[in-house]
Symmetry: C2
Subunit: 209 residues, 2 copies
DNA sequence: AGTCAATCCGTCCAGTGGTCAGATTGTTGC
DNA sequence: GCAACAATCTGACCACTGGACGGATTGACT
């Protein structure tokens, strides 16, 4: 009376094991799961096998979509820069009086809202030359957005705008990391007026020389 | 004719296996080995077992000196801040005309000379509350050094000096990380005049408001 | 000499990233 | 409609890691 079924062909009560052999969009699902995990874990704790389990798939299936762990991290990083770019543009889009302040605010907001994801974006693995294709693309877009704002809104000449963009991004990046709850200087960096502080810093750098 | 010897009591030709049972200063040796490894590897690639092998000791011996991997990383981080503090003080010691510029130069020099060690110092594990005892100590010392310089040399009032110190450190930290060969913005950040740029940034922040 | 705590050893375990041959599928050409 | 093909997924396997454990070795102290 007991039917012997191949483990895959079994059509039991339609629960369990009824998922199709092919997932359909494993790649997106894995990235989404990774972003979910990064909600409360460090990038170093992110396990490929965990992700596979979450999505309900054998862990070796991931290697059909990502060469290795490093490439997955790079994809996550690229996705982060893509989202960041969208938010930066969105901040500029609604005609604010001070575009630079809007950029600073949006940048810090992103970093504070997704700290682990933010850290992933700047991990060495994510920037490794063989992985960084999309990272360069979106990251460069973010830089260009800042650069253009400085040139067009603040009327800075090319060279000075470039240096200024580097300085501002550095300050934002440092502030985001140092003020992070996981940073050793966490207690020193003020949290409430952090954004105002950053805006002052940015303006000081623009007005220098 | 073949002597059966306990693996430890064996006094063969005095080569191999003649090391004493107790290492003597395993803790320092491990930290030193770790710093050596960090010369050309990422902190995430640092393996406790590798360190044990380098020092010639069973890998479980490490747990007599460090609770776990996190504590070892924290110790390494603390050591980094200790060295950084020494170098900052040394930079101030030889009566330069511009103490702030000297600090900036020394800071970036340290970060560029020991990139992997520098990254370790700001890892989340290193700042975890149960590990961060010594980190806080030396790291706080570095901050105080910067703060004092701003107050005494630039005659800034307490509050402003504090904000300024946060801004300058953020800029230096961001610049150090973004300009790092492993950073996604590596190409954007200029390398040759990086220090001059940073000094300009610092002065701009001091002179702001 | 005898006791004690620190240090170190070997072994064991669960978990990880990665590889590989083979099973399962959608698609493409006939 | 069907055969071939390429993409995807599986389960088993490997080397390795961090960590836990009982027991061995040792220096120091009484």
């Amino acid at each position: 009376m007991i039917e012997k079924l191949s483990p895959h062909a079994s059509r039991l009560p339609k629960s369990m094991t009824d998922r199709p052999y092919h997932h359909g969009n494993l790649r997106e699902a894995i990235v989404a799961a990774a972003l979910d995990v990064l909600g409360d874990k460090e990038p170093s704790e992110l396990s490929l096998r965990d992700l596979a389990r979450m999505v309900g798939v054998g862990h070796s299936a991931l290697y059909s979509h990502f060469r290795d762990r490093g490439e997955l991290l790079a994809v996550i990083a690229g996705e982060g820069f893509r989202i960041l770019l969208l938010e930066l543009r969105h901040a500029l889009g609604k005609g604010t009086q001070d575009p630079l302040a809007a950029l600073v605010t949006a940048y810090l907001h992103f970093a504070r809202t997704n700290p682990a994801h933010y850290r992933t974006m700047f991990r060495p693995e994510s920037a490794a030359p063989e992985n960084a294709i999309h990272v360069e693309e979106w990251c460069g877009g973010c830089f260009q957005t800042l650069l253009s704002t400085l040139k067009e809104q603040r009327h800075l000449p090319e060279e000075k705008a470039f240096d200024c963009a580097v300085g501002i991004w550095s300050t934002l990046h440092g502030l985001a990391l140092l003020g992070d709850a996981a940073g050793p200087l966490h207690q020193k960096v003020p949290k409430e007026n952090e954004v105002d502080l950053a805006i002052n810093f940015a303006n000081a750098l623009v007005g220098a020389e």
